[in-house]
């Protein structure tokens, strides 16, 4: 009997079972993530104020430095630290299982911390302003690559601790049947993460060797091709992770059950199979690759990963709708949505994340990921407009929503400033929606990304952008400031609650014995007749008609926007 390593506690309000070493790791990873978010957020404000033409805050060298650091701290450090916390949560807590090899997990954590610090130091020294993408042959200080490699190794260790925990849970019988859907989503994220980190190693290790003079040439096309297998795939980890978080929040807030386990899990499986092909999105305007290669890869084979996202986009709100209808909010198409808890920040954050990710991030991403349409978008500020919708509204906002759930159960603190917390997702979500939308607008007018001065001061051949482009950049910046305020509220609430919040004492707290960490023997299975489970709700044989109507609205927007862009493409210079 392995009685040693078992220190569990049960959360009195949620019934979740925490393994203490896992709990500590989840907390520290989440805190490291939030610290990165703080750094990245300050940098975000500086970037925004510089790209606001009327303010134009920083000088160019600082702008490019700050933009590099912003990208790394947000896209890599904040998100991956938080994702490791989600992985440990999904394995250890949801499966009621001890975390495999906590010491290895700590080693991974500290590797990630050291890597993040080394990379940040390299950037702030000033000789590594190469952007998040660090395209060779533009070179950074060796420490820049080294930091990223250390961070990636640490993250890889964490992924294997996660997989190890799944094995432990299975062999020690801590659950019956299949893993929960959220854990399944986390498995998806972790598998994609392994692929991502391997790609990162394949490109960053030679580039590091090149930076110290041991390799004499890095081909720019090879670099972009392999780097994006890392760079884009790391955003796919986010997709799998934040979709899992949507399901989790729907379950926590509404007690929502997945409409069907089969559909949701198959959709995650499609992510595993096809999502990584999308690194081709970045290579559509490059020489040296054939159109066949571009079409197959940019469409994730045949848009099978898009299909998966469209499925999740239906099943998550669909599950909420069914749960609400069963509670009695069964009138009309949208009573379930009107009566949703809009002042619960977990829900409002999750729902805006879903809408923003789908309508703004999803549609724009598929459009610009179309081989020919990419020509009128590539490297304009439309691109960051798109990925702020996917990564910031999609991932960050979903993680914010999850945080409000985690503070009482994981950190055992009461939420500070609950009144502010109600408003925080709206400030952040609406700010980011405006930010993304106007960035995309400016991009369609040709404004380039990663560019200090859209006025080209000092160049006699300066291009003059239309006044609308300047206006859009201004509104973008104002929306960005709103989002920064929302981000600041989040940091104030979380940091305040975690360090100063009122402690939640567990009455009669005691550690659980080893045997209690095992799942009870499965009882007799209830017989569920087809269609009988949801009798009496919905209309026309549809259990979630409101969600279906919303999905059709989404599809209409998608189709119109897609063909409007083809129409526009048909007017530009013929090119072959």
């Amino acid at each position: 009997m392995m009685a040693v390593n078992r220190m569990f506690r049960t959360c009195p309000s949620t019934g979740l079972v925490y393994h203490e070493p896992a709990e500590k790791l989840i907390r520290w990873n989440a805190v490291a993530g939030v610290v990165s978010l703080l750094v990245g957020g300050i940098l975000a404000l500086l970037v925004t104020l510089t790209r606001w033409p009327a303010v134009h805050l920083l000088p160019p060298d600082w702008f490019y430095l700050v933009l590099t650091a912003h990208g790394l701290n947000m896209l890599v450090f904040w998100i991956i630290f938080f994702e490791i916390a989600v992985l440990y949560f999904a394995a250890s807590v949801l499966l009621k299982c001890r975390l495999a090899t906590p010491k290895m997990a700590w080693a991974g954590f500290w590797l990630m911390i050291v890597g993040a610090l080394v990379n940040n130091v390299a950037v702030f020294r000033g000789d590594s302003s190469v952007m998040f993408t660090s395209y060779a042959p533009m070179g950074a200080h060796p420490a820049f690559y080294l930091g990223l490699i250390l961070f990636a190794v640490g993250a890889l260790v964490a992924c294997f601790v996660f997989f190890g925990t799944l094995v432990v849970a299975k062999s020690e019988g801590t659950y019956n049947g299949s893993v929960p859907l959220v854990t399944f989503g986390a498995v998806t994220a972790a598998i994609i993460a392994v692929f991502t980190i391997a790609s990162g190693a394949i490109i960053l290790i030679p580039t590091f060797l090149w930076s110290i003079g041991l390799v004499d040439h890095i081909d720019s096309l090879m670099y972009r091709t392999v780097w994006w297998a890392f760079g884009h795939s790391s955003q796919q980890i986010n997709v799998a992770a934040h979709v899992s978080v949507w399901y989790a929040i729907a379950a926590v807030v509404f007690g929502a059950k997945p409409l069907s386990e089969k559909v949701s899990r198959t959709a995650f499986f499609l992510y595993i199979c096809f999502l990584q092909l999308a690194s081709a999105h970045h290579l559509l305007a490059d020489p040296g690759l054939t159109s066949n290669w571009k079409i197959f890869n940019t469409s994730y084979a045949m848009y099978l990963a898009v299909l998966a996202s469209m499925v999740h986009g239906l099943t998550v709100p669909g599950a909420i709708e069914v749960a609400q209808r069963e509670k009695g909010y069964n009138r009309g198409l949208f009573e379930w949505l009107r009566k949703a808890p809009w002042s619960n920040p977990s829900f409002s954050a999750m729902f805006m994340s879903l809408i923003g990710f789908g309508f703004l991030g999803g549609i724009s991403g598929v459009m610009m990921g179309t081989e020919q349409l990419n020509l009128i978008i590539h490297n304009t500020i439309y691109v960051p407009g798109h990925f702020h919708a996917t990564v910031v509204i999609g991932t960050t906002l979903a993680f914010m929503g999850l945080t409000y759930f985690l503070i009482p159960t994981l950190f055992r603190r009461e939420l500070m400033f609950p009144g502010m917390a109600k408003w925080q997702p709206y400030f952040f979500g609406i700010g980011m929606m405006g930010f993304s939308l106007f960035m995309m607008g400016a991009g369609t007018l040709g404004v380039p990304r990663r560019h200090w001065d859209m006025g080209f001061a000092g160049n006699p051949l300066a291009h003059e952008f239309p006044g609308t482009a300047y206006l859009m950049m201004g509104i973008m910046a104002i929306s960005g400031i709103l989002a920064v305020v929302g981000g600041g509220m989040y940091l104030l609430i979380t940091v305040g609650s975690v360090f100063l919040g009122k402690k939640i004492e567990t009455p009669g707290f005691k550690h659980v014995k080893a045997n209690d960490g095992r799942a009870p023997a499965p009882g007799p299975q209830p017989v569920v007749a087809a269609g009988g489970a949801h009798a009496g709700i919905g209309t026309a044989g549809f259990i979630a008609p409101g969600t279906f109507v919303l999905a059709l609205v989404f599809l209409t927007a998608f189709v119109l926007y897609y063909f409007i862009n083809w129409k526009y493409l048909s007017t530009v210079w013929p090119l072959s």
Binding site: S129, Y135, P137, M138, N176, G177, V179, P180, L181, V182, D219, S220, R224, A251, V252, G255, K257, L259, E261, K262, A285, P287, S291, I295, Y303, V306, L307, M310, V311, T315, T370, E371, Q372, L375, H378, N379, T380, L445, P448, R449, W452, M454, F456, P460, L461, A462, H463, Q525, A530, G531, G538, G541, F542, T547, F548, A551, S570, W573, P574, L575
Partner: protein, 182 residues
Amino acid sequence: MSALSPPPDRLWWKQPLDRVEGTWIAIAFIWCMVMFFMMPFWHVFGKQNLANEAYRTTPEMFQAKTQAMVDKYKIREETDLKIPVVAPPPGSDVYLIARLWQWWPMIELEEGKTYRLHLASMDWLHGFSLQPENINIQVHPGYEHIMTVTPNRVGTYSIICNEYCGINHHTMASRLYVVKAK
């Protein structure tokens, strides 16, 4: 909290699909196929496709070819830097160098005529961004990318760089003239 706990029905993969999901999957799948086939369709029937023609090159080779074109077709110089403006005849090969932080030379084309445009970088990555047309193409060092272009409107266009290329990236801009066919 069902998504957070194992499915209650152990044989969850045998549960029948709900109608709302089945219908949506069918619609979404059809839309995915439409989007997929739009790309090959446009290769056959559309006029805006990026060429697949590219060769390995070196800065010296590309510089030499560009210089030969400039020597042959220069019509004037512009700005204090005396950047040559070239007007190669329709149908000919037009070379454009991208380098830190300049496009070289400047090009004058005729409306409605077709040219073979060659793009290459001398140093780092650059981004060919034709404004206000908003055609954007990645320019690599070591690769000569060749495409046929047919300017369809008279005017003065800008070529800006939209791939970050270091501290003076934001000063990298040039012109392209499209004039009436002679």
